[in-house]
Symmetry: none
Subunit: 243 residues, 2 copies
Amino acid sequence: MNRLSSDVRLPLYQRLRDQLAEQIANNRWRPGEAIPTESALSSEYCLSTGTVRKAIDMLVSENILERQQGRGTFIRRPQFQSSLFRFFRFQTASGERQVPESRVLSIEPVSAPSAVAQALGLPLEAAVIRMIRLRLLDGQPVLAEEIWLPREQFQALLEIDLTQQGPLLYPIYEAFCGQVVAYAEESLTAEAVSEVHARLLHVPVNSPVVVIERLARNYAGQPLEWRRSRGHAEHFRYTVDIR
Amino acid sequence: MNRLSSDVRLPLYQRLRDQLAEQIANNRWRPGEAIPTESALSSEYCLSTGTVRKAIDMLVSENILERQQGRGTFIRRPQFQSSLFRFFRFQTASGERQVPESRVLSIEPVSAPSAVAQALGLPLEAAVIRMIRLRLLDGQPVLAEEIWLPREQFQALLEIDLTQQGPLLYPIYEAFCGQVVAYAEESLTAEAVSEVHARLLHVPVNSPVVVIERLARNYAGQPLEWRRSRGHAEHFRYTVDIR
DNA sequence: GAGTGGTCTAGACCACTCA
DNA sequence: GAGTGGTCTAGACCACTCA
C-alpha cells in the first residue's frame, strides 16, 4: 500500500502519472525493464485499473513507456531503428525506404564559415568539424552530404574510426559524444548540379538535384548539426504528411 | 437505437470513431455544431459511456472534435488562418511567406487518366475536373498547378466564377462543395523544366524546378484532390519541422 | 436545476505471451 | 495454465454551463 504524494487537487491519474515519471527519472527501473503490472499498481495505490491505465496511457503517449500486450509495460529504450526514418524522408523512385550505406570522404577540424556559424548559433570562425559523406544504394551514389558540427561537443568524432560504425550518424553522436538529436528543421530546394557534385553523384553537369538543408537540435533546442545534402532528382523523392 | 457498421473484428470504440468520422465527413453536423451528448450516443449505440468516451477521445486527439466541459462536444471549425500555411510550405527565397495570387487558366470536366484515377481512388476514366492554375507574386509567375478533383463532389465548381474568389481553394471547396480538406500527403522531387512549363513560369527551358505532388483527404480519409505543382527552384523553398 | 463533459470504481472477459 | 495488457460494462459522483 502506497500513498500518492503531490497536489490533492489534481486528478488521481495525473498524480499517479507524476509519481511514476519521478521514479523513472530517478532510475527506479532501467530502460527495457518492466514497471509493475497494472493490477499491482492498482492495489499498491488503491486505484481502479481504469485510473491506472489512464496514467500509463499518458506516459506511453509521452514516449516514456511502451506497452506489450501479454508481456508488460516497459521503460522505453532510445529507439534508433524508428528514429531512422523519422529523420530520413528520402525514398527511392519506386517508393522503397532503405538506409543507404555511408562512405565518409573526409572529416576535419576547420573554422566556421559565416553561414555555418549563423546556423549553429556560434561566433564567426568558431571551431567546428566538417564532414563530407557520400550515401550509396547498390554501390551507386545517391546523396552527397556536407555536415557541420560544433567542435566542442563533437571532438570525439575526430578520434574514432567512422568506417567501423553503421550508416546512421545520430546513434554515433549519442554513443560517442553524448549528444541526442531531438528535433530538426529541413528546407528543400533544387538546383542545376555543379561540376564538383556532378562528379560525386555520377550525374551529368547541370542536371536537376534536390538540395536539403537540415538543422538538428537537442531537447533543449540548441543547434547540434547543420547539414546540406544533394541528391539526384530522378532517384529520390521526399515525402511529408500534413495534418 | 443504431447499429455500428464496419468490421466486427475491430474494437467497438474504433468502430464508433469510424462511424462518427464518416458522419462528420458527410456533413451531418456543421462546424461549430455539437454532436450528440455522450449519454445520447451510449444509448443510441448501446455502448457504455467509457467506450463512447474513448471513441470521442480519438477524434479529439485528431483535432476533429473539441470538448467543452458542461457544454458539449463540438465539430471543430476549420482555422483557415492557420491551415493556410499548414498547406502552403513554399516561401520566397528571402524567407517570407505570402499567399501568391491565383489565376485560373482553365477548368473543365474530363475523364481521369490512369495516374489520377489511381491517386484519387476512382475507376479508370472516372468523371473528374481538371484545373490549371498559375500562382503569382508581384505579377511574376511562381507556381504552376494542375489540380484534379472527383466530379461527383465538385460539380459546383464548374458553375461558379472562380475569379470572384480568393486565392485559396480549400475554403472554396468547403463553401461551395461542402468538402473539407483535413490531411494531405506531399511528395517532392525536382526536374529540368519542360517547354510548356518553362513558358508558364517564365524560366529558361531545362532550368531546375521543384515538383510537388499532393493528395488531400477529408476526415474520413477519402481522397478529395490530387495536385501537382511546379515552381522555379530559385524563387522558392519548402520547409518542414521534424519532431 | 437540468444538462453537459470529467473522474473514478470494481469488476468481467478477451487476446496474447511464455514457460 | 498463469500472467500480462486490451476491451468493455454499468454505473456513481463531481465540476462546469446556462437559462
